[in-house]
Amino acid sequence: MLYCQQCKKQAATVHVTEIDQGEKRERHLCQNCAEEKGYTAEKVVPFGKSLAGFIVQNVGAKELAELTCPHCELTFVEFRNSGLLGCPGDYDAFERALVPLIERAHEGTSHHVGKIPRRLGTPRPLENDLVRLRGELTKAVNEEKYEQAATLRDQIKTLETES
């Protein structure tokens, strides 16, 4: 019989798989301890914490180790271990390492096309065109219309250089 890892007295009847920092961790608990720990209602998988497993190794390890945010002093290595960024500035500070990761988590894109704060004004026409084109590109890729996708990519590039 497998005993509960918490109280070590009762039989473990609840088996939880947690994904923590990209690592699978199994917990075996009895009914009481599981309830105590809150595993029987909504099971929360710490989504953000699973990021570490996502890191794409196309930036040199040494270079990565030296990346530090000038604003909050978080290092990229610390981010990789926790899955959480330290400040808004990290998105620029870690750009080269982050973009592949963001693209991987968001179906290949790293460009926001949704709501924009009103204080930044309404999007300019050019931005709207880009938004639309990027949407069409995603659709074309999903539908495996590669020729159309290539044309769209060219149009987006042209617009981007204009802006």
Binding site: A41, L51, P88, G114, I116
Partner: protein, 350 residues
């Protein structure tokens, strides 16, 4: 506040709204951070407190649709925090973390704005049934009102900046909770999982025994938050994904009625028997049987009960609600007994 809450049904278990026989509830959450502050993992205790006070006063000013109550989660006792989790007003993470944090909750329990969760703000709107369009209108309006007062961290390329890059862009998480006993009974549920995965949606069991895919309740949510507008993400749910799953579930329910009605009735009535006569019962077993009752009521197989009673039991039998009602701390064994007691009483009354 908490004592008022527990006197009424939780919004997510109201059992109203479109498609509520299959769609238990819909929820949209937006993640936002205040510009000029570090994210919470790098914030000092002082900065955390500063954020709490800035956000608290601005949330009060942005409240829509009636009065909101601010709860200082740090000061609440553990049982009260647990009550909020069971009512889906705060995340388990928020209840169990440390430091200055809070939640502003609307009186009808549809709106909850969490302060200092993983991000500085997590705005959530929740309604029973399938009501994503309505929820989006409401949450977008709240977000606008907050934005009139607070500058949120925003990047021209990446959109709204979040502590975890998996939420960046729109910061939106759309979740729909479904009751799919038909698909589960006929074993077709795996196909739904696979289809959802192909569409980059996350499916997770709800009320389950902790293991994947046990129980009949499932929550489906988006994983991609960047590269699509909020409306596109929401429409994907309300026009494509959810209607298809509903249709599929109804087909399976019809199959059960046509070919396996005896087995179906047996399941429902056995569950009724267990719940009505048991003397001690775990929360997992309760969920299993309540699921059968819910299916029985919605499929017209059991008429001596109404949906409201079943929904109420889902909430009352959760550990914190149970202890609140019994007015004392109960250990696991005592809870099982109290739970059986509570169910038996409700089923005898109704």
């Amino acid at each position: 506040m908490i004592d008022d809450l527990i006197q009424k049904p939780a919004e997510w278990l109201r059992g109203e709204g479109p498609m509520s026989d299959i769609v238990i509830s819909s929820r949209i959450r937006l993640a936002r951070n205040v510009a000029g502050f570090p994210f919470l993992s790098r914030a000092t205790d002082e900065q955390r407190c500063e954020l709490t006070s800035i956000l608290r006063s601005n949330i009060d000013g942005a409240a829509t649709g009636g009065q909101w109550t601010y709860l200082d989660i740090e000061k609440l006792d553990e049982l009260d925090r647990q009550i909020l989790v069971e009512r889906h007003l705060v995340s388990r993470n928020h209840a169990e973390s440390k430091g200055s944090r809070g939640a502003s909750v609307s009186k009808n329990e549809r709106v909850s704005v969490m302060v200092n969760e993983e991000d500085h703000l997590r705005i959530q709107v929740l309604r029973s049934g399938l009501q994503l369009r309505e929820i989006w209108e409401e949450i977008n309006h709240i977000d606008d009102k907050l934005e009139d007062r607070i500058d949120f961290a925003f990047h021209p390329r990446y959109g709204y900046l979040t502590a975890c890059p998996t939420n960046v862009g729109t910061g939106i998480r759309v979740s729909v909770m479904l009751h799919l006993p038909g698909l589960k009974l006929t074993g077709e549920i795996e196909k739904v999982f696979r289809a959802a995965k192909d569409m980059r949606l996350a499916v997770r069991g709800f009320f389950g025994e902790g293991t994947e895919a046990t129980g009949d309740f499932f929550q489906i949510s988006n994983q991609t938050t960047l590269g699509r507008t909020e409306e596109e993400i929401i429409d994907g749910f309300s026009r494509q994904v959810i209607p298809r799953i509903i249709e599929y579930e109804n087909i399976e329910r019809r199959k059960l009625l046509e070919g396996r009605v005896l087995a179906l009735d047996d399941k429902i009535w056995r569950s009724y028997g267990v719940l009505k006569h048991c003397r001690t019962i775990s929360s997992d077993e309760t969920m299993l049987h309540l699921s059968h009752l819910r299916m029985g009521v919605n499929m017209g197989r059991i008429k001596i009960l109404d949906l409201a009673t079943v929904n109420e039991l889902f909430l009352l039998t959760q550990p914190a609600h149970l202890q609140k009602f019994f007015g004392s701390r109960l250990n696991g064994e005592q809870r099982s007994e109290a739970r059986a007691d509570c169910i038996r009483r409700r089923l005898t009354e109704s």
